[in-house]
Symmetry: C2
Subunit: 117 residues, 2 copies
């Protein structure tokens, strides 16, 4: 598929998709005229990239995490990086959950206070 369709399917702007390509996060082939061409896997891949970005993983780390970017090869360094980042994300998810709990408490307290007023 071409960049417009991928953008539509993922909600990510063409500008960003081109940048993902530059950063080797996304595999792209070219038509004879130079237009980018993506295969169907790209949709899922873009979604994962977005989640990782939202979790604060910088692009240069994502490139080191997601295997098979260009060559299909996977190095032990990639596995190490992946496990490392996975650990970090687990910790972050736990902290986020704890903070959500606290926010829940605040909501309840605040509602009570407003009811009393």
């Amino acid at each position: 598929m071409r960049i417009g369709e991928l953008a539509r399917l993922t909600g990510v702007s063409p500008r960003s998709l081109r940048w993902y390509g530059e950063q080797s996060l996304l595999r792209e082939t070219r038509t004879s005229g130079g237009h980018r061409e993506y295969d169907d896997d790209a949709v899922e891949r873009v979604r994962i990239i977005q989640v990782l970005f939202a979790a604060g993983v910088p692009a240069r780390h994502v490139a080191g995490i997601l295997p098979c970017v260009d060559t299909g090869t996977t190095t032990p360094a990639m596995v190490a990086r992946l496990e490392e980042e996975r650990t970090r994300l687990r910790a972050q998810a736990a902290e986020l959950a704890a903070t959500l709990e606290r926010l829940d408490e605040v909501v309840v307290e605040t509602r009570l206070r407003l009811l009393a007023a």
Copy 2:
């Protein structure tokens, strides 16, 4: 306590703590000489702020979420904003968890591939 101690306790730079103050994320009083003074709650508060930042909540939203910043007042708008953000964070936490699952799969697959090689 003063800014240096708060920085040490939280791991957040004095520069950032001053900026939190500017953005009304953090309550600060001043000594007669103009130095910032924080009370003990600030430590916990800074930690929460950091978790929210890591979850992608921009500072201007944080200011609207955490109640009682200066005045101790809490408006219905704050509650609405808080619940809204809470919903977003829950969705994000779920997505993050799903992505972690997928990364786990990739780790296993990759290990197998490496073992086979």
